[in-house]
């Protein structure tokens, strides 16, 4: 608990957009007496309470768990997806990392396959469709063998887990100069292809998911590494290499 006696005063420049058709604009707000122990979203909550009482539309933003795990939140803060704090979702960002009197710009994810719904809310349903294309292991309920019938090397299980921690937030896409969804897609392909259970569908999965990613209009990967730099779960870039290998293997 920090003992800073007085709260901070901040200037926010926030992207407001009424709907997909609206052109949108930056709007400036002053917020005062912000406690350093507040989370970034709590700071916006306080502003929104004020806006509602003034009869204005509160700033729409997505959020739910506020624990960095559901992947619902996401804003570009001062030009960086989820803000400058490393490996941190927007909801886990706290105001103690900002200076008093700072000017903070807040914008939505920007990428053609993620159209703005309203203000900071975007439509990420393209991610679900990539999973639909093949991001699963086909095993109807009740048909599974005993869990110990297939041992899995600890290193493989751990590596699969690391890839599986992707929360589907979309920061990687927002950060990528090409608007590529490679890191997201590669994380799922890596998770499943490292496990023995994922082998039977390994080729078809990689092919279908990559093709769906392209069909959604995401850009290609040129290895800039911006994605992994903003990724709140630190999904590594080498997952993309694995995805490409699996894809090539499948396309032979």
């Amino acid at each position: 608990m920090s003992e800073r006696a007085k709260g901070m005063n901040l200037t926010l420049k926030v992207w407001r957009q009424n709907g997909p058709q609206d052109k949108g604009r930056m709007v400036t707000y002053r917020v005062e007496d912000v406690s350093p122990d507040m989370s970034f979203l709590e700071m916006l909550d306080v502003l929104n309470e004020r806006l509602i009482l003034e009869g204005d539309d509160p700033i729409a933003f997505d959020h739910d768990c506020r624990e960095g795990i559901c992947g619902m939140c996401g804003m570009v803060i001062n030009g960086v997806a989820h803000g400058e704090q490393v490996a941190t979702t927007t909801c886990q960002l706290h105001m103690r990392h900002f200076e008093d009197n700072a000017v903070i710009t807040i914008e939505p994810w920007r990428a053609a396959p993620f159209p703005v719904v309203k203000d900071l809310v975007v439509d990420r349903s393209a991610f679900d469709r990539i999973i639909q294309a093949g991001g699963f292991i086909s095993v109807p309920a009740g048909s599974a063998p005993d869990a110990h019938s297939v041992p899995v090397k600890k290193v493989d299980a751990d590596a699969a887990f690391d890839a599986a921690t992707c929360i589907g937030c979309g920061a990687c896409v927002a950060a990528c100069p090409n608007g590529s969804a490679s890191l997201f897609t590669a994380a799922k392909i890596t998770h499943l292809s490292l496990l023995p259970q994922g082998q039977p569908e390994r080729d078809s999965r990689a092919k279908a998911m990559v093709e769906q990613m392209d069909a959604e209009g995401f850009g290609g990967c040129t290895n800039t590494g911006e994605c992994t730099a903003v990724c709140p779960k630190g999904i590594p870039l080498d997952t993309i290499a694995r995805m490409n290998r699996d894809y090539l293997r499948a396309s032979k």
Partner: protein, 666 residues
């Protein structure tokens, strides 16, 4: 035949501004017929589920496509149910309020999932899991249901592993397990501190596979606002498209609610911000009984409140209690930093009071103990509302690396929120509302009192009695969704078809939804919905929280209607109905929380015993432990909605297998 109870003096009733209830003449509730049949088969407990499965009628595969099932919610319960029903060939429509089914609140579960695999050979068995759950639930759960849950638990792990859920493993390649609050065997499977996430992604992927196959139609960003009951049967839902504001009707042959718990009635809880009671409350208003609404679980290890802007509380997984030691200073008012308090001036109070279980006592006991030491003025941190959870010993014993491997992500989360480093100074924790054992009443088939309405996961009241054991909610959600519901709903559907849906019933539900929205938008008062929600939450925490008394509950029952009345006269909701309007979404949820809060307090007031998470200060033993009153309260309280106040139906609980005893963790 109903008898009147609990007259609350000469208190006058609040004007019914909402058309939404209100008490008449100060009578809190009346009593109706007891519930005699829960549809559990008879015979030896280990055969009952087998029997039920065999007696369930089967639907002709060719007909399944024509049978339409609505599943509201895509958490572990709803996601697994929708996927499985799709795999079986039913025509499924699924809803969630998030932008993707993968974000349901189950994603946040950290610690693990129980299963009676006995992979460790440490004496676990289906019977032991059954026994522990009945006992842990303080003898307020049904034996038949709990036994089935323990039986099915083993299939869940198989299913999840086959789906690619990356559970923690040992070097030999087999699954690792750990022991979890209240259990002396190691039966909890886990995926680092993200077990819920990994299990939910497994269910989500199965669901997306069915969406691709065309068996499930998914509607994200849709909120269910009412249930359509036609001819006495659940036949559909009214939902609001949260992007366009459009009110839509969806009809079906059966409806499944998997909408999670209602802990957010307390405003501050470990639940996700959007968790709400609207779906089950609306169903309750339409005739579904509400089971044990007052049973709330307060989790002992959460990060304490830091200020009045606080929007939610964050849980620190209970697995931390395996290695962390809980303590407070011996002296009240000791404000020295932890490091300056010598060993002999620390009170490791859980180890002291409960030598057998120490830091691993069940949640309700650990929570109350924390409250007690804070009430004695020995709490730490701001406002004295916290106790230490100290890893110094564990770090000395196991090394920092080992501790980091086990709990690294939790420590990081703690540091991010508090700015304090738990490797060098003890964590501060305090209890917070976490889980609601209460929920819509269901029978053995998971069917509510409205035929055709099934309720699964945290939304029902079924398996945990008055207190849920750690790592058992994930188990229950997946047992319901993958294995129980798909069988039992088939029996209901096979007995159909149930005819045309009455257009009048649909129109009536639709109109009710619209007028509520119009009303909320037209009040145009001076306080936000959130500010009312905060006040309601505070009131519930103070009067119907960790400790409840007749006096506190009566106070709450006086205050809630007043506050609700003020809400309906003075709430301010900006914006329009036909757009994405988060202020409107919240206001709608808060309105339902008011009504639920009242029922919770009535339930808590009528149950004058203490049991599990429900602690009535009047009912404790000489040591301050919860004292049950089996003679008078060994029943499920199933509440029917009534315009004149709720009507109580009692379902007697019999224990044939586990002998009723007072819990003792000493």
């Amino acid at each position: 035949m109903s008898k009147r109870n609990e007259r609350a003096g000469e208190q006058s009733t609040s004007a019914d501004v909402t058309g939404e209830g209100g008490r008449v003449g100060g009578v809190f509730y009346t009593e109706g017929e007891p519930i005699r049949d829960t549809k559990a088969p008879e015979g030896p407990i280990e055969d009952r589920w087998e029997k039920r499965k065999f007696s369930a009628k089967l639907v002709n595969p060719a007909n399944k496509r024509k049978l339409h099932v609505i599943v509201v919610g895509t958490g572990l319960a709803g996601g697994s149910a929708a996927a499985t029903l799709g795999e079986l060939g039913y025509n499924v429509t699924s809803f969630c309020y998030q932008d993707s089914p993968r974000r349901a609140h189950s994603i946040a579960a950290q610690g693990g999932i129980n299963a009676a695999k006995n992979y460790r050979g440490d004496g676990d068995s289906i019977y032991r899991l059954f026994y522990d759950t009945v006992k842990g639930g303080d003898f307020r759960a049904r034996e038949s249901n709990v036994y089935r849950l323990a039986q099915v638990s083993v299939n869940i792990i198989d299913q999840a592993v086959a789906q690619g859920v990356p559970f923690a493993r040992e070097y030999g390649g087999l699954l690792d397990t750990r022991s979890f609050g209240g259990a002396q065997v190691s039966r909890t499977f886990y995926a680092r501190g993200q077990t819920g996430q990994q299990l939910l992604l497994g269910a989500y992927q199965a669901l997306e596979r069915q969406i691709a196959a065309g068996t499930v139609k998914m509607h994200t960003r849709h909120e269910m606002l009412d249930l359509i009951v036609s001819d006495g049967r659940a036949r559909g839902v009214i939902v609001r498209d949260m992007v366009t504001g459009e009110i839509e009707r969806h009809l079906a042959d059966a409806v499944v609610l998997a909408t999670g718990g209602y802990g957010n009635v307390f405003f501050l809880s470990t639940n996700a911000k959007g968790c709400n009671t609207t779906a089950i409350w609306r169903a309750h208003r339409r005739g579904a009984y509400f089971g044990n609404p007052c049973y709330t679980q307060i989790h002992p290890t959460c990060i304490p409140v830091s200020g009045d802007y606080q929007s939610k509380l964050t849980l620190m997984s209970e697995s931390l209690r395996n290695d962390g030691r809980v303590w407070v200073p011996v002296k009240a008012g000791d404000t020295r930093p932890a490091a300056e308090i010598p060993e002999e001036e620390r009170d490791y109070y859980l180890e002291r009071i409960y030598p057998a279980f120490g830091n691993l006592v069940p949640r309700d006991i650990a929570s109350r103990a924390a409250k007690n030491v804070c009430d004695e003025g020995r709490g730490v941190g701001p406002g004295g509302l916290g106790v230490y959870l100290d890893f110094a010993d564990a770090i000395r014993r196991l090394g920092r690396d080992a501790v980091e491997k086990k709990y690294g992500n939790l420590f990081e989360m703690y540091e991010r929120i508090t700015g304090e480093d738990p490797y060098t100074q003890p964590m501060r924790i305090y209890p917070a509302v976490h889980y609601t054992m209460g929920g819509l009443w269901v029978d053995y088939d998971l069917q509510s009192t409205i035929p055709g309405l099934f309720v699964i996961g945290e939304a029902n009241f079924s398996d945990h009695g008055a207190n849920r054991l750690g790592a058992s909610a994930l188990m229950q959600g997946l047992a319901d969704g993958y294995f129980v519901l798909p069988t039992t709903i088939g029996d209901y559907l096979a007995n159909g078809p149930y005819g045309e849906v009455d257009e009048e019933a649909v129109a009536e539900a639709e109109t009710a939804v619209r007028s509520k929205i119009d009303k909320l938008l037209s009040v145009n008062g001076t306080r936000t919905a959130d500010s009312y929600h905060r006040e309601l939450g505070r009131l519930m925490w103070d009067y119907c929280g960790m400790e409840r008394t007749e006096e506190s509950l009566r106070k709450a029952l006086e205050r809630i209607p007043e506050l609700r009345e003020e809400f309906w006269e003075n709430v301010k909701v900006s914006g329009q109905a036909e757009e994405l309007n988060q202020a409107l979404e919240r206001a709608g949820r808060v309105a339902d929380f008011f009504d639920l809060a009242e029922l919770m307090c009535i339930d808590a007031l009528h149950r004058t015993e203490s049991c599990g998470g429900h602690f009535r200060a009047e009912s404790q033993d000489a040591d301050g432990e919860a004292l049950r009153d089996d003679e008078n309260f060994a029943y499920v309280a199933a509440w029917e909605y009534g315009e004149q106040g709720p009507i109580l139906h009692k379902e007697a609980l019999d224990y044939e297998y586990v002998k009723m005893s007072q819990r003792s963790y000493k």
